[in-house]
């Protein structure tokens, strides 16, 4: 496998978006063995908090707040490299796992493993969306008026 090319298949944004949706147990199981290769990790933040979610009104174009979403956040460093995670819910361990993967990719170790993990999880998420949208498509209605 051309590992550089494999990781290059994902932008940083795509990678983080995939990690934010990965199943809790699979993400923790993948991230834990990465720790040894990272050296001394400094935890900058590991906490729960809120993200305010605004929306744009379609009648007058006004941005307004829909409400707040509970998230967990992890921010870690090794030297000048940083790893970051934010996911929905109050699970500090899983968001730390997300930050560990981000840091691992940033440092440049375990590229093969990270690329394979991201590819597999991305495919699962695409399949999940695809399956749901096929169910939604089944509810498409073609109306006739008389």
């Amino acid at each position: 496998m051309d590992t550089a090319q494999s990781l290059a298949a994902f932008t940083h944004s795509e990678m983080l978006g995939i990690l934010a949706r990965v199943d809790v147990d699979r993400l923790k199981a993948f991230a834990e063995p990465l720790i040894d290769a990272l050296g001394d990790i400094t935890v900058v933040e590991n906490r729960t908090g809120l993200v305010m979610l605004p929306m744009r009104d379609t009648a007058q174009g006004t941005n307004f707040h829909l409400g707040e979403v509970l998230v967990s956040e992890a921010h870690i460093r090794v030297g000048a490299q940083q790893g970051y995670g934010m996911r929905r819910g109050r699970d500090l361990e899983t968001v730390m796992a997300m930050a560990l993967v981000d840091l691992t990719v940033s440092i440049g170790v375990a590229h093969t493993e990270c690329a394979a993990f991201l590819a597999k999880e991305s495919a699962l998420q695409h399949q999940e969306d695809h399956d749901r949208l096929c169910q939604v498509e089944a509810t498409r209605v073609d109306m006739e008026t008389f």
Partner: protein, 348 residues
């Protein structure tokens, strides 16, 4: 109105709380998980009114209060204040929504078509009493289409604008903490539109429905037609410390546009909320449509409907009447007795 501090009753209060909780039994992780799994629409309603999106916390609050919804919302609003705000996400736009349901009652052939999505709109309302006699009610699975629906759907309003039926608004450039926020500043009137829409998003469903229904029955100036209704998921787009924008996950939202004729153009009312709760957003959008120029004190005047649909304030005010008002009431009785005594005095 006069208030007075009272003492005593500690034991009675303690026992009354025990009596309330005794009816529900132990609250376990399994009960919370089952509440979340079995009642997604109730959980959605709670999250919208609490203005706090987390299914586990909403299910826990429901389990802890035995489904007493006003207490449920109060618990979650209170818990919310213990948490720091870490970020403000990028504004959600209609065109970016991962759409599960999207219909229009105004136009049959809208661009992208009509997707009923998950709904009981056309179901027979028959109670499954066989469950009570031991026969499980097992839902029939969806037969999926061979190809997926588009994840994103075009806007009906954009198509109407192309046909010169309405003018599309200029998008707001206000972002982040500059967006007005009723959780950090008072709601004043005339209200900022951002305050109005945020207040409706967190309003109590029953209150919004009652006032929206009043407007729909004729106590408003404009009769609504649902221009576009969506049940969807929105991405929470946040920023990595290195500046990368990414999605921290999705949340369910409901959005409704209602439309009415105004001169030679159409005018829109709009509402949205977190979670899937389409009755609320249709009623709220009706209030928005009818709000401009509404008579003072009418159901569609914004001060009237925004104050009276705030669930924590309205339920709190209502239940405060249960608390001791002995001095106030004694004063009324004294005045009443005094008036009677004066009436009984022989005229000079």
């Amino acid at each position: 109105m006069a208030y007075v501090a009272t003492r005593g009753g500690e034991r009675a209060i303690e026992q009354s709380q025990r009596l309330f909780k005794a009816e529900m039994g132990a609250i376990t992780p399994e009960r919370v998980a089952e509440t979340r799994r079995a009642m997604p629409y109730l959980v959605d309603r709670v999250m919208g009114e609490a203005s706090l999106y987390d299914e586990d916390l909403a299910a826990l609050a429901l389990a802890q209060t035995g489904g007493e919804l006003y207490e449920t919302i109060l618990l979650l609003r209170s818990w919310r204040t213990t948490q720091p705000r870490l970020a403000v996400a990028d504004p959600v736009t209609q065109e970016g929504l991962f759409t599960h349901r999207r219909i229009s009652a105004a136009f049959k052939d809208i661009p992208g078509g009509q997707l009923l999505g998950p709904t009981l709109d056309y179901a027979h309302r028959i109670l499954a009493t066989e469950v009570l006699t031991g026969t499980p009610h097992v839902p029939t699975l969806v037969t999926p289409a061979p190809h997926p629906a588009p994840a994103q759907q075009p806007s009906v309003a954009a198509w109407q604008a192309e046909n010169d039926l309405l003018n599309l608004p200029n998008p707001d450039t206000t972002a982040g903490n500059d967006i007005p926020d009723v959780t950090r500043e008072p709601l004043l009137f005339p209200a900022k539109r951002a305050h109005t829409l945020q207040s409706l998003a967190r309003a109590e469903t029953g209150g919004v429905l009652a006032l929206g229904y009043a407007a729909q029955r004729g106590y408003g100036q404009a009769h609504p037609t649902v221009n576009e209704l969506r049940l969807a998921e929105a991405e929470i787009n946040v920023t990595h410390p290195r500046g990368t924008k990414f999605s921290a996950g999705r949340v369910k939202i409901s959005q409704a546009e209602v439309v009415s004729k105004k001169g030679s153009q159409l005018e829109l009312g709009f509402a949205a909320t977190m979670g899937w709760n389409e009755v609320k957003v249709i009623a709220a959008a009706t209030l928005d449509l009818n709000s401009a120029g509404a008579p003072k004190g009418s159901a569609t005047e914004e001060e009237f409907y925004l104050y009276h649909t705030e669930g924590v304030e309205s339920s709190g005010f209502c239940i405060h009447f249960k608390l001791p008002h002995y001095v106030t009431f004694q004063s009324s009785l004294d005045a009443m007795r005094d008036a009677k005594a004066k009436q009984a005095e022989p005229a000079e």
